[in-house]
Symmetry: C2
């Protein structure tokens, strides 16, 4: 058994690679570009596993992340986050170094960018197909036209196409609803594609959310997919039907520090600074911050029935479970927690320990 003494993010490398390969194969069969989002793992080391499949185009969510992966040799990067007008200098530097795509939904930004950048930079117009976070409404013809007019005369900004993140799939109640959102998204994006294709024959449409990308098998109605979370999956994806519990490739190993049999609880070292605080609701209305798994030599079990991480403070986590499980646990044991949101957990933990005992830092 791996020597664990503190909260440690275990990575099932084999499952992670299977998740990557599965998404890669689906994209290949649909003949669309696979531009994985690297914000979930945020690791140059794990990035290399994609490279081995021949993937050289990636997505990131900040200029800082773009710099990090550029330093590790990635040369085709889309920053799928709105251009921050205060970072034009950084964007210019990045575009000197790599083939860079940026995104935005604001025509006023374009002349500012044009002034600053010296190398050609790809630009995606972000479209809001219903998530209502950022992006122009697909029906906002006047603003989209304003942007298109600029691209028509721009020498340094190259219009790449329309990009969306249909994050409203995260609020769906069923697979059918997710598929409905995907179909609706694709139809809106293709409407725009057809409208502008004559003037911009190379334009593509790019979609991103993991729930859609996991449930859809045939992506032939889009040109590019940018899922990220699928590399690890998590309980959020499981609750949406986007993965099975087997596919969750990370678990936080946590030392047990207290046992309170009279209330059917154990307390672990593993809190909000390790897992972050996203949660799901049980049907009883109780919050769940994680499922509990048993960790043994080189694997973890399926979740223990009835065992849930029910509360998190800064360093502590409280697990409620049935008496049979509690009775077998002692302080000094190590239990695993499947995270609700693996992106945030990975961001906090900063590194991984594979089940083979290999430490992966950032």
């Amino acid at each position: 058994m791996i020597n664990i003494t503190k909260p440690t993010l275990l990575l099932n490398k084999e499952q992670c690679m299977a998740n990557i390969t599965q998404m890669y194969e689906k994209a290949r069969k649909s003949n669309v570009r696979f531009r994985p989002h690297f914000k979930t793992h945020n690791s140059a080391y794990i990035g290399n596993w994609f490279r081995k499949l021949g993937i050289h185009s990636i997505t990131v969510s900040s200029t800082a992340m773009a710099r990090y992966f550029a330093a590790y040799g990635w040369r085709d990067i889309t920053i799928a986050f709105p251009v921050n007008p205060l970072e034009l200098g950084v964007i210019s530097e990045l575009s000197n170094e790599v083939t860079l795509n940026i995104q935005g939904d604001n025509a006023d930004l374009l002349p500012l960018l044009e002034n600053v950048i010296s190398h050609q930079t790809g630009f995606f117009v972000e479209i809001d197909t219903g998530h209502h976070r950022t992006g122009l409404s697909w029906k906002d013809h006047s603003e989209i036209d304003r942007m298109m007019d600029w691209f028509g005369k721009s020498t340094r900004l190259k219009f790449r196409g329309f990009l969306t993140h249909s994050g409203h799939t995260y609020h769906a109640d069923s697979r059918e609803e997710i598929m409905g959102i995907y179909n609706d998204t694709v139809s809106k994006m293709n409407y725009l594609k057809e409208k502008y294709l004559e003037h911009f024959p190379e334009l593509i449409i790019s979609i991103g959310d993991t729930p859609s990308c996991s449930l859809v098998d045939d992506f032939s109605d889009v040109d590019e997919i940018r899922p990220g979370n699928f590399v690890f999956f998590d309980l959020m994806q499981y609750s949406l039907g986007a993965c099975t519990l087997d596919q969750v490739a990370v678990a936080l190993a946590c030392p047990v520090i207290g046992k309170y049999a009279h209330r059917n609880e154990i307390v672990i070292h593993g809190g909000a600074i390790h897992l972050s605080k996203d949660f799901l609701y049980k049907s009883s209305g109780e919050r769940i911050y994680g499922y509990v798994v048993k960790i043994s030599d080189k694997e973890w079990s399926m979740p223990v029935p009835g065992a849930y991480l029910t509360s998190l403070s800064q360093e502590h986590g409280i697990i409620r479970a049935n008496r049979e499980f509690i009775d077998k646990i002692r302080p000094g044991d190590v239990v695993g927690v499947l995270p609700v949101h693996s992106c945030l957990t990975a961001n906090l933990m900063k590194g991984y320990l594979t089940l083979e005992g290999e430490a992966i830092g950032y």
Copy 2:
């Protein structure tokens, strides 16, 4: 104006020092030991502000934090987190280096500890006065007696007293309820003190939560206080009545990256990896992840009425506000967010920028 281009944790140093001084003065007047918890700021630099007041005893929440502060010369440290049986070696090393106090609620641990440590180590018995996270019930006479029997014959573990964290104050609905919890806690702790004082005349009682410590003026019924969050305060403390909005000493400065006037929203660079995801409920039932303040030269304003951070994803935050405020904002502006839980925000941000422009790293 300070040059901000990305999410940056602003620190109002003057207010922070006022918060520290106020708590120090209250402890001094009550003649109790002030052993501040350093988990909130987690900064050797800010630690020095306490040192200048003559404070040399501190509280931390992990062995890692104990090591960090020990490296910066702190020589009297209580780890207010249950002993992790997998960290006995680290604890032994720490106790060679500093005057160390540890805590626990489990008699079985004591012989294991006694075997490993070579220097005398202080031990607090953790008492659960109603929070129900860790600790022995104050009524669990048999287990408390088992621990006391051990301390009576131990040569290396020195019983220091009873310690509690009445974290159930965080669920209180009024100042009166918090005061009620404080009085109840003090009465239970003093019951234990009186019971064992004859055999352990040096025993003390130590309490910790910021809501109680902020609202109580006279601590003369306890021997030691260990609040932490008061150094910055936050919206959680404000909602409990434990501080005023003026006293909140940190604000996350966030670039505005999108404006969506038709839905009265702006989007900022500032998400779950900057603020973490604790929230409060508005009376309407909507979640609030922060209040919004205007940032000007060397200060931030009181919260903008009706402006709330209503949603967080990994890097994005959505602010909903009234039209008058939205109309004045443009992408590239910087707005401030008062965090719901400053401990988690500070843990994510890892450093501070004072309003005078001084960068404080860990």
